[in-house]
């Protein structure tokens, strides 16, 4: 395969708090190919957003710190570039959509002001041209009457409209990679479907790669090519969408899929994964999932499992699947 667009290697992020060191990410690997939509799933607090933010170096420091690893974007280590280059990357080559459309727009400026701001920041265009681009982008996200929307203030728009504005804004500079951090979580279900359809359509049309973060497996299944599953700051499984849903290998992934309520099957009561997500201040040694795992055995509480390829393109970090070399 060609060089990946984004390749995260061995990334660890820690937060230094008064209660202790929160190990939010531990030696995580992730790759995104050009034009690929990668879904990142996991429970609340498992480090999905931390991952997304570290790609753009938006981790607040202090208390957060990227302690090791590298983030290669088009072969360039984002963690090492200077501020000027970082600003060029942000918004222009990698852009990001946030969870809450309510607070992602500045309340005191009109939508048009803010969209034009992003465009003029990265492109050498005059205001007239910037406005044309805005209108064009708003049409692409199926906004009715885009010219009127430009003169509106954020509070005059609904949540779905605001999120569409954000999508239009973030894609207006034609980035290579779009990071969408739970973009539809704060919206209600019908609007969510609408926004996802628009995003899917637009992303495929302009061929941007996407890191799509969600805790909703249904959304992931609808939108993504490949899925990575995270648990408590570690990557546990990565596979193509179809394969992950059909043949989950990691006990945690299995549990996640079991926990989706279904109206097709008679399944009563709903399966849940017993126990709670561990505190990341003193995470369990070895596999972080082992206290809740139904299939745990001897080495689970001592040795951290490494990602192992079980099928082409399907990687799992679990002692159930030993490496070729370790098989006896």
């Amino acid at each position: 395969m060609a060089d990946p667009l984004l390749s995260i290697k061995n990334l660890s992020v820690q937060f230094f708090t008064y209660q202790g060191v929160v190990r939010a990410l531990e030696e995580v690997d992730l790759t995104i190919q050009k034009g690929e939509v990668l879904g990142l799933v996991g429970e609340t607090g498992c480090g999905k957003s931390v991952m997304a933010r570290s790609v753009l170096r938006l981790i607040p420091d202090p208390p957060g710190k990227i302690t090791q690893g590298e983030i290669l974007f088009k072969g360039e280590d984002i963690l090492k570039v200077n501020r000027k280059r970082l600003r060029e990357i942000r918004g222009n080559e990698i852009s990001m959509i946030f969870q809450e459309p309510m607070s992602s727009l500045n309340p005191v400026f009109t939508v048009g002001d803010q969209m034009e701001e992003v465009i003029t920041l990265h492109q050498e265009v005059d205001r007239g041209r910037a406005k044309e681009i805005c209108i064009e982008m708003l049409q692409q996200v199926k906004m009715p009457d885009p010219e009127r929307v430009l003169s509106k203030y954020p509070h005059e728009l609904s949540g779905g409209m605001r999120q569409r504005v954000m999508i239009a804004m973030e894609l207006s500079c034609r980035p290579d990679l779009l990071i969408a951090d739970e973009p539809t979580t704060a919206l209600d279900v019908t609007v969510q479907g609408q926004v996802l359809t628009i995003l899917d359509d637009l992303v495929r049309r302009i061929g941007v790669s996407v890191l799509f973060i969600s805790h909703d497996l249904g959304v992931i299944a609808q939108l993504c090519d490949r899925v990575s599953v995270m648990y408590a700051g570690q990557m546990v499984e990565t596979a193509l969408v179809g394969e992950l849903f059909a043949d989950p290998r990691h006990p945690y992934t299995h549990g996640l899929l079991q926990a989706i309520p279904s109206i097709d099957e008679e399944r009563d009561p709903l399966m849940v994964i017993p126990g709670i997500v561990p505190r990341l201040i003193e995470p369990p040694e070895g596999c972080r999932f082992y206290p809740r795992c139904t299939k745990r055995f001897n080495p689970c509480d001592k040795i951290v499992p490494k990602l192992v390829q079980v099928n082409p393109g399907h990687h799992v970090a679990c002692h159930l699947y030993p490496r070729e070399s370790e098989k006896s």
């Binding site: 938006l58 600003r87 990357i89 942000r90 918004g91 607070s103 500045n106 005191v108 920041l121």
Partner: protein, 291 residues
């Protein structure tokens, strides 16, 4: 054109009129507003309405008590006190507005930088502000005005300097809460520079509280400026400044009470006017107690 504007900004116009209605229902706001309006009107129309030239000396009429010809009496050089008080409103309001513009502008920028950048810069700036705040404002303004030399402009600079920390501290607090908002992170994620974020995202969001603080501080500003003039460090004679008039009039207070009393009353009125209006404005614009 006007109709389009009305349509597009219907919500703002509605809010604006709602604010006005709330203000009209609030008696202290109305009182404050009337006082401020009278002062402004007086300052604007001083050259038209004042019965005499404020620096016209007429030694035959010196120190005459209030009468039909001189409603507020005359001073030791026979100048009409009513006329001088009317012209004095111009100077006091000019001082007030200039000080607020300088101190509010600089203070807001300093505060926003401090709050947004945080860490060491914040610490440094805030300790400097604390040092300024630790002096009584009048004493510090006095020392500064004395060092700069007695003139009206220097007095304005001195008072503005003393007022900077008040704005800086408040804006810093606002900036601390605004910078946690998602749109700041979003702006950073689109590659905006810190300076751009401060000027474009932090400051506009602090603007409403700056306005409220400005009305509250305006009264104090006028008072300090008048005090400086009283000591002789502000407006110089023959400029008809209220503080300077009291300063001279004080010598005659026992026998010619009208000389110092009328300018004093106007200082009192102006300060009260701005203070109660500012108070009411703060209450009304606070969304938590608005409705």
């Amino acid at each position: 054109m006007w109709n389009e504007f009305r349509k597009e900004h219907a919500w703002q116009i509605k809010e604006f009129f709602f604010t006005i209605r709330l203000l009209r229902r609030n008696p202290s706001a109305v009182a404050g507003f009337i006082i401020i309006a009278i002062m402004i009107l007086m300052a604007l129309t001083a050259s038209l309405l004042s019965p005499y030239n404020p620096i016209q000396i007429s030694l035959r009429e010196r120190l005459s008590p209030p009468s039909m010809g001189h409603p507020f009496g005359t001073d030791e050089l026979g100048r009409d006190i009513l006329s001088r008080v009317m012209y004095g409103a111009r100077i006091s309001l000019r001082i007030g507005v200039l000080v607020i513009l300088i101190a509010g502008g600089l203070g807001a920028i300093i505060g926003a930088i401090s709050g947004y950048l945080g860490k060491r810069i914040d610490n440094l700036i805030m300790r400097v502000m604390d040092v300024i705040l630790s002096f009584p404002p009048l004493v510090l303004a006095l020392a500064l005005a004395a060092a700069l030399g007695p003139s009206l402009n220097n007095a304005i600079l001195a008072v503005a300097f003393v007022m900077i920390p008040k704005f800086a501290r408040m804006v810093r607090g606002e900036a601390l809460s605004v910078k946690e908002k998602q749109f700041i992170t979003a702006a950073r994620a689109s590659g905006a520079k810190s300076l751009w974020i401060i000027l474009h995202h932090i400051l506009p969001n602090c603007f409403s509280s700056v306005i409220i603080l400005a009305t509250l501080i305006l009264g104090e500003t006028i008072l300090i400026a008048a005090s400086l003039s009283f000591i002789g460090l502000g407006a110089q004679p023959p400029t008809p400044e209220w503080g300077a008039m009291i300063s001279v009039g004080r010598k005659f207070l026992m026998d010619q009470w009208w000389y110092a009393t009328f300018p004093g009353l106007f200082i009192l009125m102006t300060v009260i006017g701005f203070n109660i209006f500012g108070d009411a404005l703060r209450d009304i614009l606070d969304p938590r107690i608005r409705r």
